[in-house]
Amino acid sequence: MMKNLIKSNTVIMLIFAAVVLTAPIWTAPIGANYPDLLQKFAIFGIFAVGYNILFGLTGYLSFGHAAFLGIGSYTAVWSFKLLTMNVVPAIILAVIVAGIFALLIGFLSLRRSGIYFSILTLAFAQMAYSLAYSVLTPITNGETGLQLEQQDPRVIDSMFGVVVKDGLPSTNLFGTLMSGYSGFYVAAAILIVAFYISLKIFRSPFGMKLLAIKSNQTRMKYTGFNTRPYLLTAFVISGMYAGLAGGLLASIDPLAGAERMQWTASGEVVLMTIMGGVGTLIGPLLGAVIIKYLENIFSALNKSELTEIFNYMPEWLQTIVVNVTNPFVGEGWHLTLGALFMLIVIFLPGGVMEGVDKIKGLFGFGKKKSTIEGEAK
């Protein structure tokens, strides 16, 4: 009875919302309570949660989701340029346009499975990236990236008589500026909605069908079940999540560049999902938070700061420790990422969530062994 209560949607959502909205408070002790970082947590959390709907439920490994993020960003910035500085139309348009592209790319890519699917998505994303750099420069502004300008038309804004006198206008939500904590709360609210949708999908017959496709697609087909529309729906939904994340990124900082679409960016969301735990509800979000947090910490450190941190050690030991850790921080942050990533894949293929389960098991209140693998947790 108690267990059922804890696992009901409402309770989960209440807890989740409370945790997310109080993030500025509980992140204070670990030094992550400034808006820029919190916004990143929420946005990349949305991206990873959406990616998990495809990868976690169906097992299709896409290497091209960054393209949808980039498309979302470009759409949002164009909406700021042409329509209004309000973020609502920008985000809605970003989701719709990313969804249309996801429909096209998904329709073609899903004709294949396994690594062929991965390479097809990668090929499409790389095409989008290359085109954004070369031919589509009038739309994407090439290497410089798409930026706002003072003389942009902003049709809707000018209809309401909003005049920008000097400098660039800022993005806003019906008058509230999207910078700082207000930006975070908007992103957090969207994250909560996005998480709720993902929870509903995980616990719906639709989600169950996706899981069935993951465990044995051939058998599903033999029972006279057409898997393609379900896969395509999952692909489009996760593409729309990526577009949403891209639109939010642009709303908080109205800039869009092609490097957001590069395959390394697609790799990053795979990393986040794996790091947290593929196919779990909260895992991808955790992964996004962990990676963004570590990136923030490690890439900011340098040698002199390391020396300060290890000041309590005897001098000879300090020199050794500083020299050993130095390659891992600052520009070498990717080394840490790579190492961490290998360790996770080797020892905890289920990501952080598997670690949590193991610890729970140690204390005797873990799940029973009969849990179906990949079941919504």
């Binding site: 991965s118 090929a123 395959w263």
Partner: protein, 338 residues
């Protein structure tokens, strides 16, 4: 006509690099069933073998510069020149071809350690996990190289004799102004030699025969009392060697930097998939095909017709081939489709 010949050579050249990397990838995949995302990093390590060999050869001592008489000037003089005079200079000049001697044991060793230390534990894991763990390894290798060699490309010149251009126009009876860099021709010949060597090794030696048998039916070969695992480990080391040699010889064409491996990796994966997973001839054919298509697409006549086509041609062709031919050009049925 001239332009077409040049582009054909360019394409063959690019294709040779793609084919070599794709060949190694396919070897690792066909034998061990491993999708190795660190293969590009092996290519990069090969190129850095050339760089470090050159650095070792040119370890220098400060000596007085005799040509300047007004004041005491010093210049760096490599020890090799001090000891052996002109012979030393010649050795330094040939640093890149000579570094192959160093690359062979180094790359075999790296391949061996990689297989025994990491890949071995991933036979039974899913392909997604293999991709991810080797991707992590690739990041690590890349960052270590950056730590030691810096982020800038390091020029590694070819020997003086072949740094000029060959008059290919005369050879083909065309315009005699038609020239092409010697080193690129050498690279093409070198890769053809390596590719034939690998195929001959698999086709005509007993070892190769066992390996091919193991690729077809691993279990039966094992039942015959052959330790197929050991042979596959050696094949993986050879795959690493092929990638490494491709990298060594590529160093004079493209000054090596730490992320050159990643740039090639993505393309080579596309090449492998277009050729058909697990098919060695497919990988080589697709490598040359995509290389040639890419260089023809970059001709001004073509790119003025379809702007931007040179950037995307490889991916576009990959998409079309995969949609028309589900298993690539020469892929086998049932490989990698789950």
């Amino acid at each position: 006509m001239d332009a077409i010949l040049i582009q054909l050579l360019n394409g063959l050249d690019k294709g040779a690099a793609y084919a070599l990397i794709a060949l190694g990838l396919t070897l690792a995949f066909g034998t061990l069933g491993i999708v190795n995302f660190a293969h590009g990093a092996l290519f990069m390590l090969g190129a850095f073998c050339a760089v470090s060999f050159q650095k070792i050869l040119t370890i220098s001592k400060k000596v007085k510069d005799e040509s300047i008489t007004f004041f005491d000037a010093y210049k760096e003089k490599p020890y090799l020149e001090i000891w052996w005079g002109d012979t030393g200079t010649a050795i330094i000049d040939y640093a890149v071809p000579l570094s192959i001697l160093m690359a062979i044991p180094v790359m075999l060793l790296i391949g061996f350690i990689m297989e025994r230390g990491l890949i071995r534990h991933f036979y039974k894991r899913s392909h997604a996990e293999q991709i991810l763990v080797t991707f992590g390894l690739a990041i690590i290798i890349q960052e270590v190289i950056r730590h030691f060699f810096g982020a800038n490309p390091i020029p590694t010149p070819a020997p003086d004799v072949v740094s000029g251009s060959a008059a290919v126009g005369v050879f083909f009876g065309l315009n005699e102004n038609l020239v092409y860099p010697w080193w690129r021709l050498i690279y093409l010949a070198f890769s053809l030699a390596i590719i034939s060597a690998v195929f001959a090794f698999l086709k005509f030696t007993t070892f190769g025969m066992v390996v091919r048998a193991g690729m077809a039916d691993r279990e039966t070969v094992g039942l015959l009392g052959i330790n197929i695992q050991k042979r596959f480990t050696i094949v993986f080391a050879i795959a690493a060697l092929v990638a490494g040699l491709a990298g060594v010889m590529y160093a004079p064409i493209l000054p090596p930097d730490y992320h050159m491996g990643m740039d090639f990796l993505v393309l080579s994966f596309v090449v492998v998939v277009v050729g058909g997973m697990g098919s060695l001839p497919g990988a080589v054919a697709a490598g040359f095909l995509l290389g040639i298509l890419q260089s023809f697409a970059s001709m001004t006549e073509v790119s003025s017709l379809f702007p931007g086509i040179d950037q995307i041609i490889i991916y576009l062709v990959a998409v079309i081939i995969l949609l028309v031919r589900p298993r690539g050009l020469m892929g086998r049925e049932g490989v990698f489709e789950d």
